[in-house]
């Protein structure tokens, strides 16, 4: 009885086999995405402003199973840096709920998200309009279902607009995953786990300016061009959805 396990545990071998199978599927030329979308099709987006009462501006975004809530506080007096500065400060923080991922407490290691959110937004906000003060952006991921950062960034720019903060333009963001030869837009968490490379753009559509671009993995120039075109087109459409959400809120209130 030496080999008998003391407690029950799921078979590791089975899981490994399943993973390999999935990886093989992703290697093929033609496969169907788990949610039945086409390769160039984004998940349906649901956006709402005014999700949190206490904040000066807030927004909720739901892209498929990815659910994010962003609250913006301020502009308020800088407590940390009391010294004089001509421009305002932007302070971003991204956190995950403990139940955001299938395995409890796994989403907490995304420390770089805060700084990436900061980089994506700071180019869009007119910081000169509120000297000596700070704007705090707090993003909370309720459920992490893939493409978290693009959703956070789009949602945050909506919350900033809701808070009445001067911006050059709305920031919309979309990511693309690379699988061998095929490009897949707006990947889910499962697809992100097996991707060969990822590409994310944050874009100000009316100004035609990119505020941030992230690229991981091996990419050929032609591939980058293709991904870029795909992303910019999706960003443009996403910005329209965001805009109509703001208009709706303005007319209702």
């Amino acid at each position: 009885m030496a080999t008998a396990p003391t407690t029950y545990s799921p078979s590791q071998a089975l899981e490994r086999r399943q993973q390999q199978q999935r990886r093989r599927i992703f290697k093929e030329e033609d496969w169907v995405r788990s949610d039945g979308r086409g390769f160039n099709q984004c998940r349906p987006a649901f956006l709402r402003t005014g999700a949190a009462n206490a904040a000066s501006g807030s927004a909720y975004a739901e892209f498929g199973t990815t659910k994010v809530i962003v609250s913006v506080f301020g502009p308020r007096e800088s407590k940390k840096a009391m010294m004089y500065s001509d421009i305002g400060r932007l302070n971003c923080n991204v956190s995950f709920t403990t139940f955001s991922t299938p395995i409890r407490g796994q989403g907490l290691d995304n420390k770089e998200f805060s700084s990436m959110l900061h980089k994506a937004l700071e180019g869009a906000i007119i910081l000169e309009s509120f000297p000596k003060t700070t704007v705090d952006v707090f993003a909370l991921v309720l459920e992490s279902g893939g493409s978290d950062l693009p959703v956070i960034i789009s949602c945050a720019s909506l919350a900033l607009a809701d808070a009445g903060i001067m911006m050059y333009d709305l920031v919309s963001s979309v990511s693309v995953s690379c699988f061998g030869k095929s490009l897949i837009i707006d990947p889910t968490a499962e697809e992100e786990a097996f991707q060969d490379g990822s590409f994310m753009v944050t874009y100000m559509p009316s100004r035609k300016e990119v505020t941030q671009l992230t690229l991981t993995g091996e990419w050929s120039t032609a591939k980058i061009n293709e991904a870029m075109e795909l992303c910019l087109d999706a960003c443009l459409k996403l910005a329209d959805v965001m805009r109509s959400c703001l208009k709706e809120a303005a007319n209702a209130g």
């Binding site: 004089y84 000596k132 009445g164 050059y168 009316s206 208009k247 303005a250």
Partner: protein, 332 residues
């Protein structure tokens, strides 16, 4: 105050919707130039740049087009085009009367929270001293600052001006300004408060003072005669007496002074609820509207707590419709 949640039943919902629709129709007919008034960030504002327009707040020019940098309503005043943000913080102007809360007692100054992007500063030197004598402020005055205002006190003051670095200076150079006691502080979105000649109101019928601060902070409290408002003086005298080491214990007189009759308390709560209700409905907070709501609640026998319930919520909305219809008829 978006946190007021009312649960309406079916008929109430229908009544409220029809009231809101009438209000919208009224506002769209009254302002004939209702052309795509709301804009989002980076929307193009349709203007003729050759007219020599002035670009105001919340706009910027990109590629020969005027773009909004805020979400809100486009306002045009002669040649000036600007965007009025729907949900923004209070923007002070010189001479505004504001209500604020002391958050810090700093050297020679108090810091106040007034719903502005920065804390406001009330200097000891821009305040009338309790003894009323114009003189240099001494170190002793500075040490006694906490006897005038402490942290968390609610204060009423006037906007004096801006400093070169954009921070806000207040002044309180009259008896009517100063510490507010025995009442309630209410907060509303600042855009609901219009600037008027008079922001201090004494409601004689109720024995209540109402201060409508331009920053959206409002004070409802027991009426205090300005002539008798020598509370500060008393404190000062008390201090001197303390110095003479004959501080007498709190007498019955002092107790009477800090006592508010139950009737007045009820009136304070009623007026406060009227303000809460109006701001939840998004109606302009004018004295007339507040008094009218209070009177309506009296005439229809609504108890104080029921003023925030569904039935009175709908009633107030319908009342506002009536008022606007009658005023538009008068004009016609």
């Amino acid at each position: 105050m978006r946190d007021l949640q009312v649960t309406l039943n079916q008929t109430q919902r229908v009544r409220l919707q029809s009231a809101i629709r009438t209000l919208q129709e009224l506002s769209s007919t009254s302002s004939s130039s209702a052309v795509a008034a709301t804009v989002a960030v980076a929307d193009v504002i349709p203007v003729n740049l050759e007219d020599g327009i002035l670009k105001g707040h919340g706009t910027s020019e990109v590629d020969g087009q005027l773009m909004a940098t805020l979400c809100g309503v486009v306002e045009r005043v002669n040649k000036l085009v600007y965007v009025r943000a729907l949900r923004a913080r209070y923007k002070p102007e010189i001479g505004d009367i504001i209500v604020g809360r002391v958050i810090e007692v700093a050297p020679k100054r108090w810091r106040l929270e007034i719903n502005f992007t920065q804390d406001a500063v009330l200097m000891l030197s821009s305040m009338n001293l309790p003894d009323g004598i114009q003189r240099r402020r001494t170190a002793v005055d500075e040490l006694n600052m906490r006897s005038i205002f402490e942290e968390d006190d609610v204060i009423c003051a006037e906007v004096r001006g801006f400093q070169h670095d954009g921070s806000l200076q207040l002044q309180a150079r009259s008896q009517k300004y100063g510490k507010l006691e025995r009442g309630q502080l209410l907060t509303a979105p600042p855009y609901l408060v219009k600037r008027r000649k008079q922001h201090f109101h004494h409601l004689e019928d109720y024995g209540v003072d109402l201060i409508i601060g331009c920053n959206g902070f409002m004070w409802v409290g027991e009426h205090i005669e300005t002539g008798e408002n020598d509370m500060l003086e008393d404190q000062e005298n008390q201090l001197e007496k303390d110095g003479n080491s004959n501080a007498k214990p709190m007498g019955s007189q002092d107790e009477e002074k800090t006592f508010t009759p139950l009737e007045t308390r009820r009136h304070i709560c009623r007026i406060a609820n009227a303000v809460r209700l109006l701001s939840a409905l998004g109606f302009t907070l004018s004295l007339e509207a507040i008094i009218d709501t209070v009177k309506l609640s009296f005439s229809s026998n609504i108890s104080i707590k029921d003023m925030l319930a569904a039935e009175f919520y709908v009633q107030t909305a319908e009342r506002e419709v009536q008022r606007r219809v009658s005023s538009s008829k008068k004009k016609a």
